[in-house]
Assembly symmetry: C2
């Protein structure tokens, strides 16, 4: 007798997290082992609150649009489930729900925190003799999951960042005056996204001039010296920084105390670039811009990488197939076989190896002065931003999907 | 005997200002009346400094790329030429240069300040019996030139803003918590760009919830009330503001005194959104984002509107033909014949009618509560963001042009 499946999205969104969702839904629809397809509204937290959607009869047109739809259409959460030896309540509630909905296949799309949830749920099920197949599907623009070559979402964010830095660098050069543009990108713990900005450099225009990643102790004084040096050679200096850069004592640059409150006592908006800009402005030059690529870098599906979208989609399908084959407690992913031609192999990794761990940008790709990324990194990242996408446009704008099931009529009642 | 022509770019760049340049160069190449094609490096200021480029033999491949290359590839300036009755020096120097270079056709691509320059140069030439044809070509993302239906550059910036707001709005809804996103767009004197964000709304997602334009007195208290009201209906509130919003006394919101200096005595970075965010954060909700679309909105050629690119290119050609026909002191532009189907007619307007004037967003398109744009505006702006572009991509990134003449070898020597 066919059973049901349950899918959730977790953590921060990416431009391709819905492509993975599409992969799961399509593979589940194809399988005779699966009857109903349920979705968690707002991740595990929503599931615990009983917010379950029935995705079984979603329209195929909306499903098609999901491939290039940004954000997490199911909704997401950052809820961390506690160890069941500490408190069993969430587990009891969740597996009650799973039992009532007759769920045999459970999919969670997320990063390292989410894989911790997958790991805990899987171990609890095993210890308690609950028959269920629980699979993790990776996503994170931060690219910081261990055990896999790269993370879905990273390629598209990298493509957006490189494109934007190319455009910012060209804009910066139009006036015959000295200027500095400081571009801040995501990456609280790792510098993968900042590093990807190196792709903006080509034989026509070298930019960014400096890249400071989270993995390196950041010195404001050295930063000023670096900028000053470059400014002796050229009028425009373009700098990219990770949001997570810290000083030698481990304090975030963005948390500079002098900027946390204004005269109203208002807590001010954070950001490393806005903290750094005043050190240049008026001292080295008058035209300084602090630019934050903000949520656009993870949401800019109009700039998606086709390689990234295809891989994210395929991982959704692979995870479903693995679960249907009786596998559990694994995350699907890939290892790289070659850079040129770019080739990957799909793999499965026990989630316990991934949960809560962070993969930093390797030192081998950071230059000696710790202010630029070495060429070798280009071979790694370049294949991830390739491919021409075929986004649907309507009235001059991208046509993004929306699960029609988000309508209240699709909420599962009387669970 | 064939004469030469001189082209300059002026004011802020747009995504299509180089399309107009391409139009002039191509039309000039085709004409037997024009021999050499010269460019001003950094606008009128560069010309006065003798920085002249010879564009006659630029590679056709680079010329082709210019259509979708952001920034002003010749370089630009904001130099305002004074009245010649006040000080004739610039005029004497410039027309000396024009004489030496044997220039008969002069093209200046710019906004209302630049058209003032065109007007002054034209009147000086007429009064002094100098034979020259001086034509203005409009550009400005601000869309604030009078006498013409819209300005080249505005459509592409509008498309980028609407696309980004669509993506930001989707990103804002993923968590099950209350949040406010304040998106700041360009427009110091006018709200055309903020108004264009209305295009992000469709039948799947209504956003932005509020749009505050420069034309309206901005009240922080009313803004807080508006946000509070909307937050009672929905979790995510998305607001778009013009950078130039002012309070009832005419003071820029972005210039709020409490935020001009930090504890180091550093002058802080401006912005209306970062000033507004703290009024919401911690009061109405904890998750507040101040997002500035910064220079990306005028430089994002990867998101260019084909209608805009084609019109900008055509204006370059039209201006050249007009000059060759003996016209002078005019700016080319268009008037709208119909919205649906979209149809324009190319026109020529005396620059003196345009110089220094600002076209505001008409009140008829602002709602009664002064916090949203009326549907009628959609008919105006929608045609301007249409068309599928065919940008050249290389290694997963847009291939932008660069005038090879920017090499020092192309600088005209011994003028």
């Amino acid at each position: 007798m066919a059973k049901n499946c349950l899918i959730g999205q977790s953590g921060g969104p990416t431009a391709v997290i819905n492509a993975s969702l599409k992969g799961v839904i399509e593979a589940a629809k194809k399988s005779k082992k699966i009857d109903k397809i349920f979705g968690m509204r707002y991740g595990i937290q929503g599931a615990l609150d009983g917010n379950i959607l029935d995705l079984t009869n979603k329209s195929s047109k909306e499903l098609k649009l999901l491939r290039y739809t940004p954000s997490s259409v199911l909704g997401t959460s950052r809820y961390k489930i506690v160890d069941y030896n500490e408190n069993e309540e969430d587990y009891v509630n969740l597996f009650n729900l799973i039992d009532k909905l007759d769920i045999s296949y459970f999919f969670y799309i997320g990063g390292n925190d989410s894989m911790d949830t997958v790991d805990k749920l899987n171990k609890y099920a095993e210890e308690n003799g609950i028959e269920i197949n629980i699979m993790g599907i990776p996503k994170t623009v931060d690219n910081d999951l261990v055990e896999i070559d790269h993370c879905p979402g990273y390629g598209s964010a990298s493509k957006y960042i490189a494109t934007s830095v190319m455009e910012i660098a060209r804009d910066s050069r139009v006036y015959d005056i000295k200027n500095v543009h400081i571009v801040e990108v995501m990456g609280r713990a790792s510098g993968w996204l900042a590093a990807a900005s190196m792709l903006a450099s080509n034989d026509k225009l070298k930019a960014p001039d400096y890249i400071y990643v989270s993995e390196v102790d950041f010195s404001v004084n050295q930063f000023i010296k670096d900028v000053e040096k470059k400014m002796n050679e050229q009028k425009s200096v373009v700098v990219v920084v990770s949001e997570g850069i810290k000083d030698e004592h481990g304090n975030y640059i963005s948390a500079d105390k002098s900027t946390t409150h204004d005269h109203f006592g208002h807590k001010k908006m954070g950001g490393a670039a806005p903290v750094l800009a005043p050190f240049i402005k008026g001292n080295l030059c008058d035209r300084v811009k602090a630019i934050r690529l903000d949520v656009m870098q993870r949401a800019a599906a109009h700039c998606v990488s086709e390689v990234d979208a295809e891989e994210a989609y395929t991982l959704g399908k692979k995870a479903t197939k693995a679960a249907l084959a009786g596998k559990t407690g694994l995350m699907v992913g890939f290892k790289r076989v070659s850079n040129d031609p770019y080739k990957i192999e799909y793999i499965e990794v026990p989630v316990e190896k991934i949960a809560n761990k962070v993969k930093s940008l390797p030192k081998k790709w950071i230059n000696k002065n710790e202010n630029q990324i070495k060429k070798g990194f280009r071979d790694y990242v370049l294949p991830l931003i390739q491919g021409k996408v075929d986004i649907s446009y309507k009235d001059g704008l991208p046509e993004y999907g929306e699960l029609d099931c988000l309508n209240k009529d699709f909420l599962v009642k009387n669970i």
